[in-house]
């Protein structure tokens, strides 16, 4: 039995009315904006509710909306295999305090996704067992997918500027 979005939203609002900030629907896909401190409650309800059974965390990622408040967003996609349905949860994250509760207590698979989101955006997942860099080297400074990180690594060398660029490039001597 496929679940329609209105039913899902209705049950969610009835169970946790203070946790839901809003919702949008685009071509049949439901997105729900959740209060950051209540994300664990919402996810647990969606997972454990016998009617909904969104028991699979498909992915989790960060988004940087530079210039908007809140600047970051963490996006979760949950899947219900029994109901053949999907739901998207979005959580806004402030730039001055980029922290969200971790979902590793509900889905152990959230571990690596949250580490990657931390690595790329610097979003702190409180309660994560081992929040370290996963892709970038340990000594890399900053978080590369933030919009204020420069896109290119170095100036492209052409014949007119290669002398200036190569004068500063750290070539290995031996």
């Amino acid at each position: 039995m496929a679940l329609d979005n209105a039913t899902v939203l209705e049950r969610l609002r009835a169970a946790l009315p203070d946790a839901i900030l809003g919702s949008t629907e685009f071509r049949g896909d439901l997105s729900v904006y959740v209060r950051p401190e209540r994300i664990v409650d919402v996810a647990r309800f969606l997972r454990d509710d016998p009617e909904l059974r969104f028991n699979f965390l498909e992915n989790l990622c960060g988004v940087d909306y530079l210039g908007r408040e809140p600047r970051f967003e963490v996006v979760y996609h949950l899947v219900s295999f029994t109901n053949r349905s999907r739901i998207c949860l979005k959580v806004g994250v402030e730039e001055h305090n980029p922290s969200v509760p971790s979902l590793t207590g509900l889905w152990p698979g959230a571990n690596y996704h949250e580490r990657e989101t931390f690595d790329m955006f610097g979003i702190i997942f409180t309660g994560h067992p081992c929040l370290e860099r996963i892709l970038m080297p340990e000594d890399w400074e900053g978080h590369p997918l933030r919009k204020d990180v420069p896109l290119g690594a170095e100036e492209v060398a052409f014949t007119f500027n290669q002398d200036r660029i190569y004068a500063h490039k750290p070539f290995a001597k031996e």
């Binding site: 970038m136 080297p137 490039k169 070539f171 290995a172």
Partner: protein, 167 residues
Amino acid sequence: MGIEQKAGDMGIVTTSLEQLVNWSRSSAMWPLLFGLACCAIEMMGAQGANYDLSRFGMEINRASPRQADLMIVAGRVSRKMAPVVRRLYDQMADPKWVIAMGDCAACGGVFNNYAIVQGVDEIVPVDVYVAGCPPRPEALIDGIIHLHEKVKRMRLDGELREPVRLS
């Protein structure tokens, strides 16, 4: 009449030690197995039957840096891989050479971004750069022949003679 002609029947060849050493170094150069990306496929193609790198004494890829003379960096080197590349290079016994195969190893290629080292010459000294994305096996073999020419004009004290131009 020189001694070469006199000794010819006895199976003796006279040469300089330098030429003998360089000939043996360049004729049996063992590459380190070091495929990082798609260039490695072309490197395998160069070693396969069609292009047959073993004509140059290079049929044997060593999986251990201690047994290799030549590091062919075939592919892009990520910042996280960079210490590993340097460590493998340090573990190779002298004399050793490096070929930067492909645009990514030579200068970063299309990956002008935070994750990729902008040219492997930031980590290890490179002898020959082979351009291409990826270079065809002929280009790699051409680069290897250039390297052989370079090895052949090395003096025993490690200095290089004047370059020999391949026309």
